[in-house]
Amino acid sequence: MSFITSHNLKKAYDVIVVGSGAGGGQTAYALTMEGMQVLVLEAGRAFDTASEVAMFQLPSQAPLRGVSTPDKQYGFHDCSINSGWEIPGEPYTNAGKEPANQFRWWRQRMMGGRTNHWGRIALRNGPYDFKPHTRFGAGFDWPIGYEDIAPYYDKVEMLIGVFGTNEGLENSPDSSPGVLLAAPKLRVGELYAQRHGAKAGASVKSIHRAVLTQPQDADTVPIKLHPGNAKAQRILAEHMRMRSPCFWATDCHRGCSIRANYDSQTVHLLPALATGNLDVLPNAMAREVTLNNEGRATGITFIDKTSGKEAHATGRVVVLAAGSQESVRLLLNSKSNLFPNGLANSSGKVGRYITDSVSSSLGAHIPAFEGMPIHNEDGAGGPHAYVPWTMHQQNRKGEFGFPGGYHLEFTSGRQMPSLTTLSGIDTFAGRGEIVFGHQLKEDARRFYGCSLGFGAQGTMLPNDDTFSELDPETRDQWGIPVLRFHWKWSEFELNQVRHQQQHIRELLEAMGGRVKSAVETDVFKSMKPGGSIIHEVGGAIMGAKAATSVTNEWSQTWDVKNLFLADGAPFASTADKNPTLTIMALAWRMADRLMDEMKKGNI
């Protein structure tokens, strides 16, 4: 893929997009297919998904057997470079001192952003998720409902390719007929949980993930997605045919050189570039949104990281898709006479109402799996099943002490061994000693693949004590002020985690599992710190009123007509679903609105 440098920027673009991940990629795709001239700025370097991803490499071929280090914080072969919770020269701070008040912020500085190592779990928000205040009397209703976004969920799923089944579940919506690709068969552990989990009230279903289990229908999908646009249809069809379906091996977190799973370069940026309407500039660290005297955005000032020099790109419209908190930071750092407290911040709500998936996990040893006949469980490089939230009636008004719910994700199976594969082996047979010699080899064969666990991810509604702001002192290596986070869990989240732990334990025990840890009475020890799930959203929430929100229902800022957001920042709350699919659906919807407004001359 050929990208530009800051020396050959065009004089002006129709739209400048900051960020190349799910939101930025989807925005660039939707706009360029309709003929808009677009520039995408990415803070990280160019990355070649065909030649740089390590799909088949073994842990023994990596330093330290591939375990995580400060340089590669998700492990050596994870598809992330120059990324992490801590990045040298790019700090952030936490206002609170207590562990429960810490926020961890993952930044992925590479082309395609976090989509490179995304788990590809692609669940739709349901109708309740957009109206938490109506249903639970807490949080804010979004200014849109499920019906507004449903057509865009269909479109995104057809474009990126999502497998799964329609189950008719309450608040975990079906896709339109013909949209989903065939779901893969479930693994032994997933089937076993399906059979025995019912006793604990858990209903195991096929999950939805952005992995091709079959070739995409390049003959009909492009026509459905781009009616009347022959060029767009041709380009999309060509790019769909360049993707291979999954070959049932290798972990999706490592990336996919055969293009079987979605990442934003493969699925969004490549076809967008083929239109001839897109420039992509890597190594461009956005610093500020520039304004004219009328209070309209005029472009982006950025640091060209290859030279360390500042440069400017000009556009009629600016879309921020830098990752919710990075977009917040850009707004807060874009101060002017018109917006002394940061751009689009007349409400004072920029940085407010950050939410994240509420998460905890628990694992067990399942004796029934011991001595399992050897077979290959790699499958689609990630889970095939999950436990959706189904206790809606029991929790109609928040009777559990928390609004919403959570879904459970599996870790199971005969996965590629890692350095810690035999963890716990001394306890399984009750030998009471450190096993070694021939006994160790025998036990290893017997107990391998017997671990099964669940990670919960649930609803979080915004609260007044969880937000980000500019740190008055700390700056990054380019002198740009950094974010300071304030994080506080409410009783809702604590109650939810208690419920998660109890429910998972019952589920594992229903499978005959020996749970690996004792009941934890300190809820803060069970729950994952804020940010850990990398689902942080909010900070520039959408709403029905300019006084209490940053954007309208189109992710268009109330204050600056030609400034939009296309990442998780406009989310008014976190659902019990992963945010990425919704980010893409909202981005596409936003892009359609943006073009409409431009055609009407409103922008």
Binding site: M372, P417, L419, I425, A444
Partner: protein, 208 residues
């Protein structure tokens, strides 16, 4: 642990860390910890790395010989699969304890001390270095520090060392192609279809 043993541990730890890494052949000093660097935040992920490729290793020749024997006490060869040292697990452990990252620093101390302890123990009981023991003798030394009752005795630290060395040996072994075969991992190979679990696997758990 009484005070005498505690002091002995402390001294051996200091010795292990400060001993010049010059082996009998007069090879130059290796791995000056503190100057070694990691692989950085943008390494080639597709490259195949070997121990010693990214940072220099630590073991002297005699430490290496002890490490090899201990690896094979933990994972001996059998008809179906090779020993740990046959697939270079001792080199991995050397790489691990030579790591410039903070998470491995504690293991460096624990393992270098532990190897020294093994030699001391072998000398006390058999008047030989650990690497020169017969297999039965080498196993016997480990047997005595693998028992749960050791956890409270003065050999507690030796047991901690053995547990950690065992974990690294097992993890190091089962992440190699030979180890994966031995444990029964048969994935990482492309296939046209995914057929789900075979009938005998379903029967095994009562699902068919």
């Amino acid at each position: 642990m009484d005070r005498r043993v505690a002091i002995q541990w402390m001294l051996t730890a200091t010795a292990a860390l400060s001993l010049p890494r010059t082996d009998a052949s007069g090879a130059p000093e290796r791995n000056s910890l503190g100057t070694a660097k990691g692989y950085g935040s943008d390494p080639s992920m597709v490259k195949v790395y070997k121990s010693g490729d990214v940072w220099p290793l630590t073991f002297s020749e005699s430490q290496r010989r002890t490490a090899i024997v201990l690896c094979d006490v933990i994972i001996p060869p059998d008809k179906a699969s090779p020993s740990a040292s046959a697939v270079g697990v001792h080199d991995f452990i050397d790489e691990w304890i030579s790591s410039p990252y903070p998470a491995q620093a504690g293991d460096r101390v624990l393992i270098l001390e532990g190897l020294l302890w093994l030699d001391g123990e072998a000398d006390r009981r058999f008047k030989k270095p650990y690497a020169d023991l017969s297999l039965e003798e080498a196993v016997l030394v480990c047997r005595d520090i693998s028992n749960a009752s050791v956890a409270k005795s003065e050999m507690k630290k030796a047991a901690q060392f053995f547990k950690r060395y065992r974990d690294l040996t097992a993890g190091g072994y089962y992440t190699t192609p030979e180890g994966m075969k031995a444990i029964g991992y048969v994935g990482n190979t492309p296939s046209r279809t995914f057929d789900g679990p075979p009938l005998d696997a379903l029967r095994h758990v009562g699902l068919a």
